[in-house]
């Protein structure tokens, strides 16, 4: 508990500093005098915190994604984990996401230590772990869309689908309300695609996206830096896109392998009660069951 408390204090301090810095940044920018009459109503003449080109690029990207009913993405990812010492270690994974809108998807994430497969056939969502050969399934209300599935799993089971951001972008649009800084960095070639590189900041998170130039503004690389963690761990994923092919429905259906064991998926309520039970156990006798 002491660890937790001190961690919270550190976090609070970090956030307080961050808030102060943020406030100063805004003050500074507001203090810069306007240079021209035409723009005198605007707050600043120096590069604005939010470059409208970067916001436009996000809108165009998600607008293009929304026109894609069927697509597949191959991914290679790297994710930092932070040891108690503060050291970061980086682990790799690869996977894919196959989407047939509005309500079919399949995804996988594979590392040397873990593999998960996800299936949604329009009715049933299944998460499958090939090595222990476990799976869990839930039935969704009729006409549940991919986008709704993403939020349902998040809200009720703390399950995050791979490339959840792509699924969000491709069904609703890019999120801009939380962005406090947006910067165009420049062009860069990513895996044989010429891209525009943008950087964004929002609370607790700096993120970058490389968007393909030309008539297919697809995200080709995404890098997330968790900034409310002193170690600032990163997650990076490269994406290779395949547009326009709709697989047969069988691709999205899950058939349990022989000997696969169906297991439970803990609801957020259960997760919370487990947490409570374990808290209580640390201070007294166990009182609660499953």
């Amino acid at each position: 508990m002491r660890h937790t408390a001190s961690a919270t204090i550190v976090l609070t301090s970090v956030l307080a500093v961050a808030a102060t810095v943020g406030a100063q940044t805004r003050d500074d920018s507001a203090a810069v005098p306007a240079r021209t009459k035409q723009r005198s109503t605007q707050k600043a003449e120096q590069p604005p915190a939010i470059d409208p080109r970067a916001i436009d690029a996000l809108r165009k990207m998600s607008g293009f994604l929304r026109t894609q009913q069927n697509y597949a993405v191959d991914t290679t990812g790297k994710q930092d984990y932070v040891l108690p010492s503060g050291e970061k270690v980086q682990l790799s994974s690869h996977g894919n996401l196959i989407v047939a809108n509005p309500n079919r998807l399949r995804a996988s994430v594979v590392s040397d230590r873990k593999e998960r497969q996800f299936f949604f056939d329009g009715k049933t969502f299944t998460m499958f772990s090939p090595r222990p050969n476990y799976y869990t399934s839930i039935t969704l209300p009729t006409r549940t869309t991919n986008r709704e599935l993403v939020e349902h799993l998040d809200a009720n089971y703390a399950v995050e689908l791979p490339l959840a951001d792509v699924l969000r972008w491709s069904t609703v649009g890019a999120s801009i309300n939380d962005i406090t800084r947006a910067t165009y960095i420049g062009t860069e070639w990513i895996n044989n695609a010429e891209t525009d590189h943008y950087s964004f900041r929002q609370r607790g998170l700096d993120w970058q996206v490389w968007i393909e130039r030309g008539n297919q503004p697809l995200p080709r690389r995404l890098v997330l830096t968790t900034t409310d963690d002193p170690a600032r761990p990163e997650y990076a994923v490269d994406m290779t896109w395949h547009l326009g092919t709709r697989p047969s429905d069988a691709v999205f259906a899950f058939t349990p392998p022989n000997d696969a064991m169906k297991i439970a998926m803990a609801s957020r309520e259960q997760l919370a009660s487990r947490e409570q039970a374990n808290k209580a156990r640390r201070t007294s006798q166990p009182t609660k069951e499953d």
Binding site: A7, D80, M127, A164, D228, R282
Partner: protein
């Protein structure tokens, strides 16, 4: 280079709690921004966020998990014999990738469900972890392990699998995308 590789492999060997994946058990964002998760801080580790989210900040946060989601037990890499396939002696620590870790001569089994607030873990006395690993009947109901002791048999109740290990029943379940084993009363 060799020493780097050695260091790396040592880290990977000792830090069995890591997952490299786009999805993982993660705590809800208690600070109310974004739709993404922080990495679950199993065993004192916490990972980078893997999604931006943020469409409806807070809208899906109801019922979010806050604070420390403590691992009650576990930390050893018990081989699991699933009774229907005795040849498959897989090492749970290798495949689940999300178990305790070895540090400074002690097994730690702290599990912070919220990657940040609880992510620093806390050491669980070896007696607890060893007790579960040995299938001791003293395992507290509600304890959470990340691997099973040896010699378990599977049972199905209500269409879901459970394990019986020397008189202790475990309910395997996904916690987020992480597999965990919760000590339960006899489900039958």
């Amino acid at each position: 280079m060799q020493s780097m590789n050695t260091l790396k492999s040592t880290l990977l060997t000792l830090t069995v709690a890591l997952i490299a994946s786009g999805t993982h058990a993660g705590g809800a964002d208690a600070r109310g921004f974004g739709g993404g998760f922080h990495g679950g801080g199993f065993g004192g580790f916490h990972g980078a966020r893997t999604s931006i989210g943020g469409f409806h900040a807070g809208a899906f946060r109801a019922g979010g998990v806050h604070g420390t989601y403590a691992r009650g037990a576990g930390g050893f890499h018990a081989n699991v014999n699933r009774n229907y396939d005795v040849n498959r002696n897989w090492n749970a620590g290798d495949y689940h990738g999300d178990y305790g870790y070895y540090h400074g001569g002690h097994y730690y089994a702290g599990y912070g469900y919220h990657g940040y607030y609880g992510g620093y873990g806390y050491p669980v006395g070896g007696a607890v972890a060893a007790g579960v690993a040995a299938g001791a009947t003293a395992a507290a109901i509600g304890s959470i392990a990340y691997s099973l002791p040896a010699g378990c048999g599977s049972v199905y109740v209500g269409g879901l699998g459970y394990y019986s290990c020397g008189g202790v029943y475990y309910r395997p379940e996904y916690q987020g995308s992480q597999i965990a084993y919760v000590v339960v009363n006899n489900p039958g």
